[in-house]
Symmetry: D5
Subunit: 113 residues, 10 copies
């Protein structure tokens, strides 16, 4: 896996929300071998660490030629990012372009206990 870098939260005592939207996500459908296109949104409340944007970009690009389903990608991104920056809360929303006349959205959420 590509390294996801972090930097120290500049305001660690305050609960505040950071959102990054990537409308240029692409991966490959494991069934058909055809490319999938989507928008990935990351919303999180940082604890001690924030996600570094440039490394995040390379992390997303690493899916470009990978075969993986919508539901699996969304949950895997959430697991990977939670592991790396251990946020107070995080939500991943993936919105996919039309396939077979239908379009899909997946939302998965994590809360620190």
């Amino acid at each position: 896996m590509v390294d996801i870098e972090t930097f120290e939260n500049p305001k660690p005592g305050r609960r505040y929300e950071i959102t990054h939207v990537n409308p240029e996500f692409t991966s490959v459908c494991p069934k058909t071998g055809l490319p999938d296109f989507g928008t990935i949104t990351i919303k999180y409340i940082p604890d001690k660490l924030c996600l570094e944007l440039k490394a995040l970009k390379y992390y997303f690009i690493s899916y470009r030629n990978q075969g993986i389903f919508y539901e699996a990608i969304t949950n895997k991104i959430l697991d990977n990012l939670v592991e790396v920056c251990s946020p107070l809360e995080m939500e991943i929303i993936s919105e996919w372009t039309t396939r077979g006349g239908m379009n899909s959205v997946i939302r998965a959420k994590y809360e620190k206990e």
Copy 2:
């Protein structure tokens, strides 16, 4: 009825939401025999099973020449899909194009006890 296929939820322990939107739904009005057109949205929180998209598409197409009212379709789709994938929660929203100068929306919801 067309078979609605399922696959195993790749992240069964986490409560997350899946949405599929089909803007190409069509059936027939039982009163006039004329076609109806609508958008069907499925929102659900999977338990052990997820809905397979391609089979879902054929399930929707099976209504193409069937005579059925808005309220009945919406509730029947909810009943059929709940039966097949037994989700934690599911909501069906059907939005219909203008008939007689009016347009209609039906929302029906299921929650596992």
Copy 3:
């Protein structure tokens, strides 16, 4: 008053919501005698009966040459429809086009005890 017809709720045990939007409502201002134009939205949770769309349309048309104020129409439609189909909940929203540089919206709600 024009008859508002009903049909039996096809899924009487489930709390679900039906919305009908009529963007072609017109009545007459009792003060100026000039026509008013608006969009009437009906949102309801049926109990035993659903509103039949074609009769509803004729009910709306019956206001075409009637002189009545915004606030009165909205409440009267709510009263009439509640009486006819006895829903669990119903909301009427009337949105009016610009008059004297201002536009108005009225929302009235009913809940069965």
Copy 4:
């Protein structure tokens, strides 16, 4: 017919264009007896006379309970207004709301010889 009033063009030597848009036009379908709703746009280059707005409004209202087809209304409005204000050019555009799942637009133009 309701009188359509005019006033003297304040700048008679200059070719300039005046547009009035009425999104609140309604008449009755002669076939079904049901109301039709549309937006009527008047674009003209005045010669000696301009159309007075208030009288124009009453002219439009005079169609409210009249049975007349889309194509006929559009041409009749053009004929009536040309007769009254004798413009250098005039165009009438009527845009109609959805009927039977289809919507229509009619454009008719006049040029003084």
Copy 5:
């Protein structure tokens, strides 16, 4: 073929334009057997005859279960309608929903010599 009815042009001496838009067209892809969905726009300058809307609607519905390609439908509709109402000019525009991540538009035009 379903009969396409016409009525006499109410203003035969004037060159004016009529547009009908049908956003509820559906046919079947001859290759895959799956339904196609599109919007068909008819723009024409009538000569002696105008297209009757209700019959036009049934003409469009007659494609519902027919297998035919985008390019062929568009040209066939143009040929059929020109034959029936012999207009001075006619244009057919068909706009299709996304298939395989791409969407298509076809425009064909006829002018009377």
Copy 6:
């Protein structure tokens, strides 16, 4: 102050909401003497009295050449209207066009004890 007229609430027993939107409000900045432009929205739940629209319009026009700040106008309109019609609840929202590259919104609310 211009008189704000009222009329009797036609449905006094029901809690329902009335909204009037005036996108044509203008006053004068007391600092620069230059005109300010905004949209004023009134949302209220009437008790015994409703606001009469025509008088309301003249009340708004009375600010046309008055020098007053955004925060003061919003609160003053709320105080004036509450005094006149004694509603169960009322909210005033003022949205102002760009000044110095920034635009502002003020929301003030009243609830009857």
Copy 7:
């Protein structure tokens, strides 16, 4: 009349187009005494002089309490600005908010001989 200031065209040899849009124009209807609101657009090809923006703003404000009709304002602004900066071409477009359910647009153009 308020002075409309000009400055020297920084590129006098080239035919290029300048557009200024003022969405905050207001004047008074001479018939009703009520305020009118509109957007005034100035498009011109400068010859030797350009319009100075701040003075232009005060020129527009000078109409605030003046009674004048749509057609007259549009032609008067064109005459005033052409006189002051003697452009190669100039067009004034005035777009007015809804009055009596209708809205209007006036376009007047000047070309240097």
Copy 8:
């Protein structure tokens, strides 16, 4: 730091909300030295003091050539403004234009104890 001026709250007893939106914020990325562009929204409930708009504008301009990260700016603006006007509540939302194919939003909130 540029002085942020305040003025006395004209309605100190009432909890009401003031929003200022600045779509013309720009600073410099400390990593690349390239300019960043964003929209800063301030929402607050004033206690005794309100923010003066002109000084606020100069405060925003003071960031023009400063190197600072998204997360740091948002929290610093919140800290600075809270210190100056001591509001009951304040929220800062910064929305940034696309960098590396992604765009970001930061929301930070303060509540007086």
Copy 9:
């Protein structure tokens, strides 16, 4: 190169226009190695042959991991498609997402002599 398939024009005598829009085009920037994303539009007037959609899709996918500049792609697609289907006219429009705060569009056209 992936084969671009064609089929016989179903209406060879008529000049009509076919448009295919692919909003899911992606290639790689030869300078940075990072992915580019764009929408490719093909507009053409067929002579004897039409472009087959499924093969066209695979042709577009063949650029996925290829390093090539905006200007070169657009011209190369035009050259390739003209060679394969020899149309009467063809235009390629490529619209690219934001890179370095700027976005680009390239339009190239071919006409048969």
Copy 10:
């Protein structure tokens, strides 16, 4: 002046159009010292040379702290870019955010003789 780099046109024989849009342009008003914000669009038909995007970006950034008027910037950018890449045609469009309640657009065009 920052160097504007070019690269060889990959298809020199064909007349085709390249557009670059920069919505993040900022300079300083020479009169007030306050920042101006705008969108600069470059449309050109290359002859032997194309504009390199990264250098173009730095060229735009070089205006960041420069005092210059709208009309002058637009013409200067056109002069600079024409000098550097000697295109067959070029157009510069600058669209500016609201100042004093008005917003402006300047369009300047060059054609090689």
